[in-house]
Amino acid sequence: MPDNVTWLGTPAFPEAARTALGNNQLRTNLRKATGTIRDKRLAVTGELADWEQLRDAGAALKLRTLRHLDSHLVRLEEAVTKAGGTVHWAADAAEANRIVTELVRATGQTEVVKVKSMATAEIGLNEALAESGISAYETDLAELIVQLGDDRPSHILVPAIHRNRAEIREIFRGAMGEWGRAAPDDLTDEPRDLAEAARLHLREKFLRAKVAVSGANFAAADTGTVGVVESEGNGRMCLTLPETLITVMGIEKVLPSFADLEVFLQLLPRSSTGERMNPYTSMWTGTTEGDGPSDFHLVLLDNGRTATLGDEVGRQALGCIRCSACLNVCPVYERTGGHAYGSVYPGPIGAVLTPQLVGVADKQAASLPFASTLCGACYDACPVKINIPEVLVHLRARAVDEKRGPVPSPETLVMKAAAMTLSSPRRLGWAQRFGAIGGRLVSRGGRIGRLPGPLKRWSDTRDTPVPARESFRAWWQRTRGEGRS
């Protein structure tokens, strides 16, 4: 089953991160890009007096919608059908891919143009279409860079955030010719020239395409209106020029009513690109004679979402509007980049969404909730107030419980022993006396240097103070007597 929620072969986070951290070019690109976008976001969210109320409204709307998701989806189906569209239900990636492939086949076409979409990346649609001899062309500039570079996206909004313009020039020069109109020989790495090369390359595709595939940022259940929010206008080309439009949308994207957009169209651009308003907001309601695609299909994708909905703490992750603010403020993401998460959903949201969509039995996915210091910067930034740290610790518990078996792991043994000690003042007192003696044995000049065993990686880069000769409780007892117990 082609499924990109996690990329097969990616090692668990700590190991993948180690590789990424050694890439100095990546570190520089990320530092610059995340730093710039952070400042922009703070400026445009700070200027709204009611920003906090907007966040509250967004969070409440999402949670309320999720509670009655089933009925909203049925309403959406009715409205879309009435407006001339066709709704398909896909339980998993394989089913969604099969539906889309059959729809494309029915048109007799072997090419589709694509609007940037997380849902189709999640199900590995491009790969599935390729197996049936259908070429899918990404038209979002950053997605194009990723596709031409035979690469993986590393950010949900800026998939090529790990590339700089010199690298992009090389990718364009090397690969554009194979996919269509080649880049000019004298292509420079000036943004304007790069954009022009992409424009000419893509224009050819837009004018030829008979079928487009998109994702959706939202769909209003009352009117059946589906919408895509973007910056370049390439999405709008795909949504308006072809005859057939196939939209793949996660079931959590439905909103009860068109009026709810008032909240989300303010929250999204300010949080994602740091703009007051995004340049292109395209909306369509079924089909309209003589205007845009004459055939519209909406594929509603589950792929683990219903299971996620069943987790009372974890379900809030389904409220995500994919703004990527949490990635941009995350100190871990800033250093490792997106590839280390081994999933189309990187960063803090990926660390809470991926393990829920694929389950914590998967070793790589189970490592993701631990890829955080719980610093809380993501929660502060999230426009729909998803309490990511809360979900992270919740999923850590699920990952630990999943692994508990008849034979405890070394980590479990250590944690159990520690719990025994730390839950009793008497045992803690004993441990403190032993620790003070042991610490003194291995210390030099009042500091503990490199240690073997499980503390090796800690002590490789840090000195540790020696545990005190007299603990606080021993001092208190000696100087103040018993106290209340």
Binding site: F370, A371, T461, P465, P467, S471, R473, R480
Partner: protein, 234 residues
């Protein structure tokens, strides 16, 4: 006021001087400090690492040890946050007393910002993530530090970025933790401070451990120790 001290297992074992400083400071301000001997650990490490089953008994023990107190003070932002935000999640039956991180107790409850301290050193302050984003202590620690006589308080660049400690994160994701630590140390060194202070010794042990390994000559001191310091101290 009668205030119970929750020392935290970590400070109890590794940094008893911080606890002594809290006692000295509060007594100097005219308050009575109790140390309930039945206290142990708040369960944060186990809870944050996913070992809820193991953490739960600690929650009950905490509530028992501090039952009846009007105010509990602790020199740790993250342990205060653990009790406040998560004890009820672990055990809905318990009802922990109000727990304040030191700067919250001083500024919000006791209403003081000038605690009569003297600390003639160049100091920079790192706001730890849990005090900043779980407790929302804001600039209370800075208000207290600004009132210290003799201090040369300098601003830490990118102060609100996490230092990379994160409890077991520093072991499980050691490489990423190192990368975050490196940036934090670079910012600390750029201030020219002799002393880095914070409201949590765990973060300070991590940053201070790196500063010590590199022989930077920058030391670390818990906020409580600076606030307790007076003229005539060694």
């Amino acid at each position: 006021m009668r205030i119970a001290l929750f020392i935290t297992c970590f400070n109890d074992t590794m940094f008893p001087d911080t606890g002594k400083a809290v006692v000295r400071l509060l007594e100097r301000l005219g308050h009575t400090v109790d140390f309930p001997a039945g206290q142990a650990c708040c369960g944060q490490m186990h809870f944050n690492t996913g070992y809820r089953r193991e953490a739960k008994p600690m929650v009950g023990r905490f509530a028992e040890a501090f039952a009846g107190y009007e105010a509990v003070v602790t020199p740790s932002g993250s342990c205060a946050g653990m009790v406040r935000d998560y004890h009820k999640v672990l055990d809905p039956e318990v009802d922990p007393p109000p727990v304040y991180e030191l700067s919250e107790l001083l500024v919000d409850v006791l209403g003081v910002t000038d605690v009569g301290a003297y600390f003639p050193h160049r100091v920079t302050y790192h706001p730890t993530c849990h005090s900043l984003r779980m407790l929302r202590v804001g600039d209370k620690p800075l208000k207290l530090l600004r009132a210290v006589r003799g201090i040369d308080l300098v601003e830490l660049p990118a102060a609100e970025s996490c230092c990379g400690f994160g409890g077991t994160f520093a072991l499980k994701n050691a490489d990423t933790s190192d990368a975050m630590l490196a940036d934090k140390m670079r910012h600390v060194q750029s201030t020219g401070a002799e002393v880095l202070t914070a409201g949590d010794n765990s973060c300070l042990m991590h940053i201070g451990g790196g500063l010590s390994r590199l022989r930077t000559g920058v030391g670390t001191r818990h906020l409580a120790e600076i606030l307790a310091a007076q003229e005539g101290d060694a």
